[in-house]
Amino acid sequence: MRHAFITAGRVLGQLRNDHRTVGLLLVVPLVLMGLMAWIFNDTPLVFDRIGPALLGVFPLVVMFIVTSVSTLRERMSGTLERLLTTPQSKGAFMAGYALAFGAVALVQAVFATTFAVYVCGLDIVGALWLLVLVAVADAVLGTALGLLASGFARTEFQAVQFMPAFILPQFLLCGLLVPRDKLPDGLTQLSDFLPLSYAVDAMNTLATTADGTSDVLIDLAILLAFSLVSLALGALTLRRRTE
């Protein structure tokens, strides 16, 4: 675990030297949220339904991309091969990334939620802290999926293509476009197996019910389970010996 914190510190150190990425991580969600609020200016009820779900989707998508690119960079630069000859375990490497981007996600979620509620006038019935917590869980999930996906990418082009391949189908089926129980037969059941569905479910509960805390906690537990499984699979696909 000590190694995981050391690696998390290093990843955050790299981000600190990359101001533009930090800026993009924090500002882009605000811009998109602002745009959404503007689009649905005349129908605030629609914004109240879509807004929270978006707060759940952003961190997952962004962290997925950021993570798969960073791990690919580690692979290309030879630092990964080098790390695999050090006492650090593969699990600690994975956990280090999850910790670092989880911390970034916390800041991102606080920014985005504050902006959505106090500037865009998003109406949330449930607890705000819980909304931030779900956003962080989404980010950790995005990081975990990104680490897993990058295990299958051999080139930058492949890594970039994994975003539409891994994430877009989940986005289409997560209930944002069509509520999950209104999806055609088969797709509803399929969406039960996709992690993003639970992120959006949790956000929807927070948007509409005041006493949904236990439901949200269940969704959170499911998100966490998906993350852990994906990190474990990622550690398995990370091969110490390569051709």
Binding site: G78, T85, T242
Partner: protein
């Protein structure tokens, strides 16, 4: 009774490679290689580009998939977790974090190996980059970058250092000082295996392994090699060995044809 191979050499070896066979893609890079690296010395692994140096090095540090054969490092199978505390590896291309400073990069690998900030500063000083401690790696020149990468290999204070072309592209003064640093480390008890495709570095090693097309052409001291081949320098010795081998192969083929 036939006396066995010098067993003390094999058992005392820091690195013992026996019948190693490695295939990458469809190419047999190392058909059947055996070599021993003695403790406390600087052994040079020399050979042209594509001779299998990096593949052998990667196998020794346990990141190369091998077809067959055994590799023992400090008496343990290559790549076992315990060895990761005791062996360090310099990749051929400098592997550091572009967006971290030299100091932060070396300190990170040091912390993973349980080393202190002072150890990181020491490793940076050994490669002569103290003035660049706070510089981002992406702003370094090629030579500085490879020295930063070397500092990462030093920071864990390993018993065995496996260095893939650490001196390539450096100016002669720096090369001399790095080689003298390698000997300092060996005098302190470390074992070094240093690869190079620059033949004139041969004279700086305690021992030489010449590699060509995945086969060991010679495994000797620099003086012994020159004596054996009757040549003035390593380059000439290398050519003499190749000629000798090619002649032997030709003769064998000719004998085969004549016999048919």
């Amino acid at each position: 009774m036939i006396s066995p191979a010098p067993r003390h050499l094999v058992e005392d070896a820091a690195i013992a490679v026996t019948d190693l066979r490695v295939i990458r893609g469809k190419r047999v890079v190392l058909p059947d290689l055996s070599v021993h690296v003695p403790r406390g010395q600087v052994t040079g692994l020399l050979g042209p580009s594509g001779s299998g140096k990096s593949t052998l090095i990667r196998a020794i540090v346990g990141v190369q998939r091998v077809e067959s054969g055994t590799i023992t490092v400090l008496g343990l199978p290559a790549g076992t977790p315990e060895l990761r505390h005791r062996v360090s590896y310099l990749t051929q291309a400098p592997s550091v974090y572009d967006d971290l400073s030299v100091g932060a990069t070396v300190a990170y690998f040091g912390r993973i190996a349980g080393r202190s900030k002072a150890d990181a500063a020491d490793a940076i000083e050994r490669v002569g980059l103290t003035d660049h401690t706070d510089a981002l790696c992406r702003n370094l020149s090629g030579g500085e970058l490879s020295r930063a990468s070397l500092a990462v290999a030093l920071v864990s204070k390993p018993e065995v250092l496996v260095l893939d072309e650490p001196t390539v592209g450096l100016d002669p003064v720096l090369r001399r000082s790095l080689w003298s640093m390698f000997h300092d480390l060996a005098n302190e008890g470390a074992t070094l295996l240093v690869s190079s495709h620059v033949m004139d570095e041969a004279s700086r090693c305690d021992r030489l392994v010449l590699l060509r097309e995945g086969e060991v052409l010679a495994d000797d001291t620099p003086a012994g090699l020159l004596e054996q081949t009757g040549t003035p320098d390593a380059e000439a010795a290398f050519l003499a060995l190749i000629d000798e081998k090619d002649a032997a192969v030709k003769a064998a083929n000719a004998a085969g044809r004549a016999g048919r």
